[in-house]
Amino acid sequence: MLETSKEHWTTQFVEVIARASTQLPPDVVEALRRGRQREQEGSLAAKALDTVLRNIELAAGNWQPICQDTGTPLVWIHHPAGMSTRMFTSAFEEAVRQATARQLLRPNAVDPLLDKNTGNGAAPGIPTVHCEEWDEEAVEVRMMLKGGGCENVGAQYTLPNPTLKADRNLEGVKRCILDAIYKAQGKGCAPGIIGACFGGDRSSGYAESKRQLLRRLDDRNPIPELDAMEQEIFEKANQLGIGPMGFGGATTVLGVKIGYLGRLPASYFVSVSYMCWANRRAGARFAADGTVTWLE
């Protein structure tokens, strides 16, 4: 039987948040190591990545935040029929408050009307909790911490875009994504991971672009056209020469992940979310027999 009490899930969620904030997923660490090998010895890019790799080890060893900007906690929870989405939402919000009190998260929510930090990490819309019912007898939680610096360099385009010679087709989509990577420079803490969505409306497009960031860097898109696009943009973005931190270099992005949604005849949005190198994903599966499996 799956537990149904808010207290139980709050405790579980604090553990997931702790992992997200302090332990970088192995595929991201591996991509950073490969990037380091591509950079010229002694270059600013190489030194930046050396510091990044040392930081990841320190954070993991001490279970302390990889980055001080612990970002917006975004979480997707799948649960069996009959469990309460209100309970899960409220448990996750409470977990954010507890994690903030334990310095696993920074008090990172500002009320813009009062112009005051709420002090506990929560505010209207923060954290962002998505709950969805599914057929399995298990609860699966996947979350990310998305920092403000990288969120600020996200971009949304409407096609056609004459400046980029981008029409309403996949070639046009590609052009927008590359332009967004150029415009971000090092400001989103390059090397970044790109989540993109074409189609949708302004809000669903951005939401899907973020959901793409839950994917492992070494996975492949099952849709051949999108897989080809991901590979091509990855190659080209790394020719831009922006490099780690925007210092110049061969490693500008670590991965490109693309999804799509239906669109209206009048609209053709391309939504691009930029995730910093500190791609703090974490996931866990809670089975009915009480076992917990960490997901990468």
């Binding site: 930046a48 320190l58 001080q68 920074r106 610096g149």
Partner: protein, 194 residues
């Protein structure tokens, strides 16, 4: 090279884009709310702490101990571009010799660095643990209640805090160089006129 804060103008003018520097001594932190506060009027209480030193764009994670003292738990730089409208004025009015941040700053700040004799030091974004380890002590804090932990002005003592000069006092900017080169490359990849 190693540099002790506060420092004089000649030392700062000797720095060039690409120099690695390890900073030691006293500095102050400040980001969005702090810059707004600093330009609104001259804040006498922080002026002597800032003159000849640097301001660090950071919103740290901070632990408060039972005896009332503080420790920085995580403290990497935040994006500096948001302070572009205010930075040159803050440098001039408070006698700063530099700024620490990430992502670089624009033309107005670059002109301010040249005019007042200051540089932009780039710290590694996201390296919150490496950089928190270089923060040896929290001396005091201003505007904590008003601005909250991330946005308060923390006066800290650092030791061998690692940074790279990416904008110097002679008009050099690595950010402008990389932007121009990557803009050219994008135009080439997309078949656009640069």
């Amino acid at each position: 090279m190693k540099l002790h804060l506060p420092c004089d103008e000649a030392t700062i003018r000797s720095l060039k884009v690409g120099d690695f520097v390890e900073l030691s001594g006293r500095m102050i932190t400040g980001r969005d709310a702090a810059h707004h506060w600093l330009v609104k009027e001259l804040r006498q209480e922080v002026l002597p702490l800032m003159r000849g030193s640097v301001i660090y764009h950071v919103g740290p994670v901070v632990k408060k101990h039972a005896d009332g003292t503080y420790t920085f738990v995580a403290a990497g730089p935040t994006t500096s571009a948001r302070e572009e409208p205010y930075q040159a004025d803050v440098i001039g009015r408070y006698g700063l010799r530099g700024v620490i941040g990430k992502g670089g700053m624009g033309a107005k700040t670059l002109a301010g660095l040249r005019e007042h004799g200051a540089v932009y030091f780039h710290a590694i974004g996201g390296a919150a643990q490496v950089l928190a380890q270089a923060v040896k002590r929290v001396e005091t804090v201003f505007q904590l209640e008003e601005f909250g932990v991330p946005e308060a002005l923390w006066v800290i003592e650092v030791e061998d805090f690692p940074v790279v000069v990416t904008m110097d006092s002679h008009g050099g900017s690595l950010h402008a160089e990389v932007d121009a080169a990557s803009r050219g490359k994008l135009a080439e990849l997309l078949g656009l006129s640069a």
